[in-house]
Symmetry: C2
Subunit: 278 residues, 2 copies
């Protein structure tokens, strides 16, 4: 998928919402446990209920791996379901992988070729050769962790480089531009610190940013839009628990749709307010 195709979807749906499929079998409605594959059935209903308002889905690998082999089958079924029924929707493997070159190459093959994801989140700690093998798949995207939304993010990401005088996450933004372009590379930037998006935008004005931390993790959508928008939106904002676990009865999908619609409406207003979508 190109950035232009992603922007077209944003314009059409007036939304930049990503729904995180952090599907935990202990948290889904009880009645689904009678299904052959409860997690897939939950995902299927959530996807059908929210696809009108959603430009991306982001399964979090941890929630599938915890089911072992069965989890991988569920993950594959989920990706295939989105791919076939909603081919315009962007699919993110939230896997936070990253290893030496030949190992990262295998991860790239797994997630891009075998599993057919559009993108994968990658940790930058091991540097260039841990990230570059994920490039070279036209239309596929690498989403590098820059500034995350968790408490521990301050431990290292905010440390200042003595030589360059910039923070580690800024160094990651700067250095990684040698590896990919705004047509193959996005960044994770936490919404709990929306004001920092101003600094981020100085370094990467054109790149799409994946913003976790709106919803259950806190963070204001209005602030994210204010500091993060570029001319082509440039934002994918994720919400997981606040949408998928909004209700735990047989009406869960209906309520998830309502929650997604609420977010989409706020996004639509922000897109209009900042004249990103006319």
């Amino acid at each position: 998928m190109t950035s232009e195709q992603l922007f077209q979807q944003i314009q059409k749906k007036r939304s930049f919402l990503c729904v995180g499929l952090d599907t935990d079998v202990t948290k889904i409605p009880q009645h689904l446990l009678a299904c052959e594959n409860p997690v897939f059935e939950f995902n299927r209903q959530i996807i059908d209920a929210t696809a009108d308002y959603t430009i991306a889905y982001k399964p979090n690998l941890a929630f599938y791996e915890t089911q072992g082999a069965e989890g991988w089958i569920t993950l594959e079924k989920t990706v295939n379901y989105i791919r076939e029924k909603y081919p315009e929707i962007f699919i993110i493997a939230d896997a936070k992988r990253g290893d030496i070159g030949n190992t990262s190459k295998m991860y790239a093959q797994t997630f891009f070729e075998k599993m057919n994801f559009d993108s994968i989140t990658v940790s930058p700690y091991m540097g260039s050769d841990s990230v570059t093998p994920f490039f070279g798949y036209p239309g596929k995207w690498v989403i590098i962790l820059a500034l995350t939304s968790n408490a521990g993010a301050d431990d290292f990401q905010q440390t200042v480089d003595k030589e360059k005088g910039i923070k580690l996450f800024e160094n990651v933004l700067q250095k990684s531009q040698e590896w990919g372009t705004s047509e193959s590379l996005m960044y994770v930037v936490g919404a709990t610190r929306a004001e920092m998006l101003t600094n981020v935008r100085k370094i990467v004005p054109e790149h799409f940013l994946l913003i976790p931390g709106v919803g259950a993790q806190g963070g204001s959508l209005a602030d994210v839009a204010k500091y993060g928008f570029n001319a082509k939106c440039g934002l994918i904002v994720n919400s997981s628990r606040a949408i998928i676990y909004a209700d735990k009865t047989e009406k869960f999908a209906e309520v998830a749709r309502e929650k997604a619609l609420e977010v989409q409406q706020e996004m639509s207003e922000l897109l209009a307010q900042y004249e990103v979508v006319k």
Copy 2:
């Protein structure tokens, strides 16, 4: 497993060798492809051939994930096989995971409870709450990436913190000691820069270090011992390709055993030379 049990094994086998099970179905001997599960059959024969000289096995998750659900079954079978036949051997999930707290907690459950690994490699980029959920499993270990052996390691790990005047990998070593002890925490330190082990040992004198990069990735075992040994060895040195792919005929396991023996003999001499094992 306690550090004392690990040291007992080192004394008994006069070895600190870890064999990396980076099993690639395209690189294993052709005749195994007729087996029901060629990767497991390869692992089984490698394990039986090398267990006398090996204190740890380290499956690299990327090589299993690339086979999807089938790969997870192979991984589980491999861990169970080692666990049942060689219960004294330390098993490392080379997974390089790390995510926000509730997600890391799921990874910990997967690798420590469901899969029964002794340890997992973890990326420190996201800080404290991405790592701490892996603690709290007595006898299980977290192996944090500090200084890796790949070319890209210099991109960020060697940058100097303006405030503390130390490098990022040193900051990781220092900070992470607030999260775990030398009884629950180890570090990855690349062997391609053995002289840096002197600095590492100043910060973490007692911790075990997992050293990749001996063998196909380069790095001298004598230097690693010289700069890295502590009174209880404190080193687990990994070799993958140089042992498991030393031969590609029907004799592959026999040749792997010979290669492992060669490394064990060198290790035995170094353990004696530095009086780590009397």
